[in-house]
Amino acid sequence: MSSKLKIQIKVNSIEERQEEIIEEFSMFEDWMQRYEYMIELGKSLPLIDEKFKTDDNIIKGCQSKVWVNAEFKNDNIKFTADSDAIITKGIVAILIRVFSDQKPEDIINAKTDFIDEIGLKEHLSPTRANGLVSMIKQMKMYAIAYNSQQNNKA
């Protein structure tokens, strides 16, 4: 049972999840299909516990609100998130799929080029109001915090 679990985690490394997403997006022919899919992802993002929608968890993007919450369980970080804008929610859903239930160290070291490859580069601009860059930064910050906590304990 435990060995099986390990294999599963391995199959689902950050890189592999990114590959998976790149493949999914490569099937779309135009922007509309891409956005429809992101909207779909946004709508299917599991609801965040209302108690986590605090000002502390808000990521400052100027136009839409994004909340990201992190919990540390079994050596992994579990992210949950929400946004009042659906496209933003789709974007954060993609990030959660990549980074949630991963080890802090892996999150810290993860590359984020895949965003470029799935045609969302326009959302990467730091001046863009949806704060994708800040979302990634915030997730990595959580990872750094948990990582140092872990190291201190060890």
Binding site: Y35, E36, C62, I87, T88
Partner: protein, 412 residues
């Protein structure tokens, strides 16, 4: 059909004056409906900037050589054009600034040495942040009290309350001529008249009115009026402050430097007269000249024609958008506002709508439009704002409406 103003204006020919209107965005022809943020620039104005650098570029007001004289003359000619346009009594009542924000800060800074603790200043509930923050800073410095003139749900100022707020402690009143978030045209004649009756001075932020309404400084008897050139077909980074001569003379200079002095020793500096007292350093010379050219262009098109054509565009857009279920429009009826359509669709976030419209080549503004108090008033995160200009067309509104319907289907 509403062809009268269109024929009057020859929109097709006008559109040819604007090179940018012929480019594509995301593979679609650009539909530019963010005119309230920045207007597009006609070739005439672009050429004027090019011509300046190709034939006249030199520093002004200080050279004896011919080129410097030419540049100075062109710059001062532009000042005269601005004076004539706003019907100021004297050209030196026109201060060239970097835009409305700069103009307002210049006045606010000056009043720091005039106001006293307990003085009251009034600002409307529908101001742009640049007509709120400088006054808050001024209050912090002086101990003056900032009071807010409330607005109704329709986005109109509550004039009865305003009247009651005025008293002999009121020293300054700030209101925008036209609200950028709602398009409301405020009754500034009454606002100015009532303020003067208690001895208060009035600054009108004309950033949003200038593209649609020709304000007459003398007829209005306004004390200060501010404009940004980039909203009236001119370049960015230049604008003006109109101020009555005696008030500008009373206010201390804003920045120290070259140009603004008449004599400097290490013991004492005497300041230059108007307008130079407020124009320290080398100004945006080409910008100032192009500002003049932009006013020429707009006056050639004619402000009356512009106003009637834009109101047709607004009416058509309002009628069409109202057919879409769930649309809520913020701001008064088309008769009382400029060509601004600020709206939301029930259940949808303005950011999502704006993002999808952009994908379809339609440029609108989304968000709080630097007027967070208004969004707070309506309890919304922001709006989608489509703002029209005289070079926009009914066909473009049709494209916008069908893009909006498509976005709605995708998002719901």
């Amino acid at each position: 059909m509403t062809t009268t103003s269109e024929q009057l204006l020859d929109i097709k020919k006008i559109r040819e004056d604007f090179p940018i209107l012929h480019r594509e965005i995301n593979g679609k022809p650009l539909v530019y409906f963010d005119n309230a943020a920045t207007s597009q620039t006609p070739k005439h104005v672009i050429d004027c900037i090019v011509d300046y650098y190709e034939t006249k570029n030199a520093n002004i007001h200080r050279g004896v050589h011919t080129l410097s004289q030419m540049a100075t003359d062109a710059y001062e000619e532009a000042r005269e054009k601005v004076r004539a346009h706003f019907n100021a009594k004297k050209a030196h009542e026109i201060i060239f600034t970097s835009g409305t924000t700069h103009s307002i800060n210049l006045v606010a800074n000056g009043y720091a040495s005039v106001l006293q603790k307990g003085d009251e200043i009034l600002v409307s509930a529908m101001e742009h942040h640049s007509n709120i923050v400088p006054w808050q800073m001024l209050c912090e410095k002086t101990g003056a009290i900032l009071k807010v003139i409330p607005m109704s749900y329709h986005g109109e100022l509550e004039m009865d309350t305003y009247k009651q707020m005025l008293n002999d402690k009121t020293k300054l009143v700030f209101v925008n001529h036209v609200s950028n978030a709602l398009g409301t045209i405020n009754p500034i004649e009454d606002i100015i008249h009532l303020a003067h009756a208690v001895g208060a001075k009035v600054l009108i932020d004309g950033a949003q009115s200038a593209p649609h309404i020709k304000a007459d400084a003398q007829a209005l008897d306004v004390d200060f009026y501010t404009v940004s050139a980039h909203k009236i077909c001119g370049p960015t980074g230049v604008g003006m402050l109109y101020g009555k001569e005696d008030l500008l003379n009373m206010l201390p200079p804003y920045q120290g430097g070259g140009e603004m002095i008449s004599e400097v020793t290490f013991e004492k500096t005497t300041y230059a007269g108007l307008p130079h007292k407020f124009e320290a350093g080398t100004p945006n010379i080409s910008g100032g000249i192009a500002f003049g050219a932009a006013l020429d262009y707009m006056n050639d098109v004619g402000f009356e024609n512009i106003a009637s054509y834009e109101s047709e565009l607004l009416k058509y857009a309002t009628d069409e958008i109202s057919k879409i279920e769930g649309v809520e429009i913020y701001g008064t009826s088309p008769e009382k506002k400029t060509a601004v359509l600020s709206f939301n669709i029930k259940g949808l976030h303005p950011y999502d709508i704006g993002t999808l419209l952009d994908k379809m080549g339609v440029a609108v503004r989304t968000g709080h439009h630097c007027a967070q108090p208004i969004m707070e008033f309506y309890k919304i995160p922001g709006t989608v704002r489509a703002s029209f200009s005289f070079y926009n067309t009914i066909e473009e509104i049709d494209i916008f409406i069908s893009a909006l319907k498509k976005a709605k289907t995708m998002l719901l």
